[in-house]
């Protein structure tokens, strides 16, 4: 009953290597997954010309605690892609501010030509909503561009 050629010594036809060709597919899938799911910001940019300031500094707060209020050149106000009148601002911001545990930072993104009247009204609305921390969003002004102006 001796097995001819010995059953164990027969060469297996399956490869003894780990199949590595599909690794590339896995990696590419991951790559595409991250590229698709990355969400950069919740509200889209409005068409404004940023004011410039040399003292511009980064806001030290988590992104979810920052609310952008856009003020366009014609004075229209947008929050989270929704248009609002200036009187509605405190009604909208008030509850959000309470929800955030009083940590909410308002980033006022105004066009550089907006009359200050609008900005003052906006600040008064924010004060009546109880907001304390406000940032006037600006672009960093370089010394070089400043000298050229």
């Amino acid at each position: 009953m001796a097995i001819k050629q010995g059953g164990f010594s027969r060469k297996s036809k399956t490869s003894d290597e780990i199949p590595s060709s599909s690794l590339a597919d896995i990696a590419f899938l991951l790559l595409i997954f991250f590229m698709v799911t990355t969400v950069f910001r919740t509200d889209s940019e409005r068409d404004i010309i940023w004011p410039q300031a040399e003292a511009t500094e980064k806001i030290d707060e988590k992104k979810k605690n920052i609310l952008n209020i856009w003020v366009e050149r014609n004075g229209s106000i947008f929050m989270n892609d929704q248009p609002y009148t200036i009187e509605q601002v405190s009604e909208v911001v008030g509850p959000l501010y309470a929800q955030s545990d009083r940590r909410l930072v308002i980033s006022i993104r105004g066009d550089r030509e907006v009359p200050y009247m609008t900005m003052d009204q906006l600040q008064k609305e924010l004060v009546s909503a109880g907001v304390v921390r406000v940032v006037f969003a600006t672009e960093l002004e370089q010394r070089m561009t400043r000298q050229r102006r």
Binding site: S21, A27, T56, E57, K58, V114, Y116, D120, V127
Partner: protein, 141 residues
């Protein structure tokens, strides 16, 4: 010479796919590292609480009035003397004045029709000069 043709080549006739994974992972890591989330930036201020009014001695106030043309008028405390300057000169004025009076407060009054950028220019100059007691108001009357 026919012997050469019969010899089986030891080089594989398949495209090497094992290094594809390395390439893909390199790309993955490259994008993970280079992705910069646009950070919010600007000039930070702290608004006063509602009903929070503080009486300030007139001589501790540096009145700064911004006109619609961008011209800035500076008036010190109780004196009626008005100095007309450009927004950029505020920085030097503040540094000079705060050295003689550490309790100085900047009272920035902006005309309702003044473009926002002039107010930002003044605020920028004040913050660059290290001012932290700034009051933003609307010019009335």
């Amino acid at each position: 010479m026919a012997v050469l043709n019969n010899k089986k080549s030891k080089v594989s006739d398949e495209v090497p796919t094992s290094s594809m994974a390395d390439i893909a992972f390199l790309l993955l890591i490259f994008f993970l590292v280079t992705t910069v989330f646009p950070k919010d930036k600007g000039l930070a201020i702290v608004l006063p609480e509602e009903s929070e009014t503080v009486e300030v001695n007139q001589k501790n106030i540096l009145h700064i009035v911004i006109q619609p043309s961008g011209v800035v008028e500076v008036r010190r405390g109780e004196s009626q003397q008005v100095q007309t300057v450009s927004p950029r000169e505020i920085e030097g004025i503040w540094r000079q004045d705060v050295a003689s009076n550490p309790n100085l407060i900047a009272g920035v009054k902006t005309h309702p029709d003044t473009p926002y950028k002039f107010m930002i220019d003044v605020l920028d100059a004040l913050q660059t000069a290290g001012a932290d007691k700034i009051s933003l108001q609307l010019l009335e009357g």
